[in-house]
Symmetry: C2
């Protein structure tokens, strides 16, 4: 794959690419991106900033539609915007970025800061901009006060528009369908790694961009490791098998976990499964606009604690999903903030018993005023294969 | 997929994972990582630093073997090291990191800086550490002089050890084999997207971790766009089809491009192919320890310029590959520095004719004193399908 261009070209007349030819086309997409930029602009007052310089690729994509490894966008508090990218992406940028000035320059951040008049405060992404670049830009633009701000665009991204939810819905449907295709092939002797490959191949075959993250397949005792990497361990009769995976579709990430039994489950396995299922249901039922992050967590965690397994559920209950697999908001005992409407989020309690195995059940759902919309529709009945 | 742990657990007795059970096992790997840390320690004098704090995940992996999204390693100029990670990764870290103190803490950078005695200068990664973290750490450790340094570990990573080259060799072999399986299926009516999916599925089936990057498949006029995303365009008789793809194996990235003809090529297509092949050969022959980055580039670029297509070859000639798909060194007209021994690098000239199509031919090879070792072995004869 070619690296950053050494000289100028890239041919004229590059066609709009697959994703940009999607329903609605450029004009509608342009309206969506403009409304996202307007929401960002509306938050700049809190940061006491005249403009925001956004360089994190996923955030540039969110604000402009441009998917590039080297691009930046400047959004002023009055809602004006300009985007800069290098020669490799300039044709795409011109095709995609409606209502935004497009500038070609390799120094994407520098060229945009040069446009800021006078002595202004410009917010930059505290959790993304490398300190080396920050120091270089501050030195080159002594009139500007570059101010690191955390979660500048990520906070705006928390509440999704319906176009984003539609992409997530499709990502989750692909995930469900891949599960249903692969679960029939799971049997004693099949390895964790094979199951992971089957899931990933099925998702891509069904139209996913790619897997949303490295799939987790954990069988038997490996089930006690929440982030187990699929190994060459053959699945055995009597195992519980936890699969945590998802599809990425049009940039949006699905996330689902199911635990199945291979052969009739032992009583402890069935009890553990029922407990986690009950906790997961309690968590889902607590998801609503206005709920706090820790009370949703507590709804599920309380069920597990009640059963004496508090110490065996060591991670948070869930997290937002969207253009990233982990994004705001996070659900956990120490998490603050309230859920808003139209926030996609996972609910994924688990109980992990060292040396024995574990169970995790996870859905992706969306907060709605009239009750959460479930996006991953695979049954949560215990499947006995 | 679970997000960062909210509380403590992760079970005891987690088994060593696939990659760590690889040939040689932990002890040999430990020696390799120690020698890499020693090379980093040897460079700290240039930075006038008593220690380096490394937080970029790929660099932490390189120096310790730990593959984690939240870990840091401190390496002192005397070669001592400590690694910190959170509860999700602590079992793996203890299993994997030989000869290194392992500390559990969510604030991985802060806990390591607290270990540095007195008023020392500590180098941090200028191109990776976010400015927000830099400011927080500087405030919390006023006695230390945190100093951003560019390419701190990346420079050390340029020259590979034989274990790394072996992983790349395997990644390239998988890439070759996937090409040979998929090329038989390319015919008029097949879409670019289908070819990309076949290549990616074949690589995973053959043992790749995953594709090394999003595959490029560009047919007919799309071939003039170096980074074309595979579309639903059906391949037609008379097309040139450029495929730029590769496998990732054990974390190491292969990179290969081939252009094939579907049906008998027109004279201009054959001429263009022959030109690029000749340029690619000239580039490969210029690869040797001691050559400068721009003279290798010029060897290939000169052939293309001589034919009058200088303006139609708009990117650099190649780039290093390893734990990343694009890493040091880069080959281009404005690139400086000399190649050393045991540096894996791509050679990938291309000529792009807007509206008509293009040709790119790329290999991954390794500098050796007795002539480069070619890792991608697929023929560069023009295949007519």
């Amino acid at each position: 794959m070619t690296a950053r261009a050494a000289t100028a070209p890239v041919p004229a007349g590059a066609p709009a690419r697959g994703v940009w030819a999607a329903p609605g086309g450029r004009r509608v997409r342009g309206v969506i991106h403009a409304s996202r930029r307007a929401r960002l602009a509306g938050t700049l007052r809190e940061h006491d900033a005249a403009a925001a310089l956004v360089t994190r690729p996923v955030n540039v994509r969110y604000l402009t539609g441009l998917n590039s490894s080297n691009a930046a966008v400047l959004v002023t508090a009055t809602g004006e915007a300009a985007v800069a990218t290098d020669s490799r992406y300039i044709e795409t940028a011109e095709a995609v970025c409606a209502g935004v000035e497009v500038i070609e320059d390799r120094d994407v951040a520098g060229v945009l800061l040069a446009r800021v008049p006078g002595a202004a405060r410009v917010a930059v992404e505290a959790d993304h901009m490398p300190v080396g670049l920050f120091q270089r830009l501050s030195g080159a633009h002594p009139g500007l006060a570059l101010t690191p701000a955390g979660g500048l665009v990520e906070a705006v991204r928390t509440v999704k528009d319906e176009e984003e939810i539609a992409a997530l819905r499709r990502a989750c449907a692909i995930t469900d369908e891949a599960f249903s295709l692969v679960v029939e092939r799971i049997a004693p002797g099949v390895t964790e790694r094979q199951v992971a490959r089957w899931l990933e191949a099925a998702m891509v075959e069904l139209g996913a961009d790619k897997p949303a993250f490295d799939s987790i397949v954990a069988s038997g005792p490996n089930g006690s490791i929440p982030h187990h990497s699929p190994s060459d361990r053959p699945i055995e009769r009597g195992d519980l098998v936890t699969m945590d995976f998802g599809a990425r579709y049009d940039g949006y990430h699905a996330d689902m976990t199911r635990t199945v039994a291979v052969g009739p489950p032992a009583p402890w396995q069935r009890d553990l499964y029922d407990l986690v299922r009950q906790a997961q249901r309690a968590g889902r039922h607590a998801v609503r606009p206005g709920a706090t992050a820790h009370e949703v967590d507590a709804a599920a965690r309380g069920v597990i604690a009640e059963a004496g397994y508090a110490e065996r559920f060591g991670h948070g209950l869930g997290h937002g999903v969207g253009l990233e697999i982990h994004e705001l908001p996070f659900l956990g005992p120490a998490r603050t903030g309230r859920l808003e409407d139209r926030v996609p989020i996972t609910v994924e309690p688990g109980v992990y018993l060292p040396g024995r195995g574990g169970v995790r059940i996870e859905d992706t759902l969306v907060t709605r005023g009239d009750g959460p919309e479930l996006l991953t529709l695979t049954t949560k009945e215990l499947l006995v294969l």
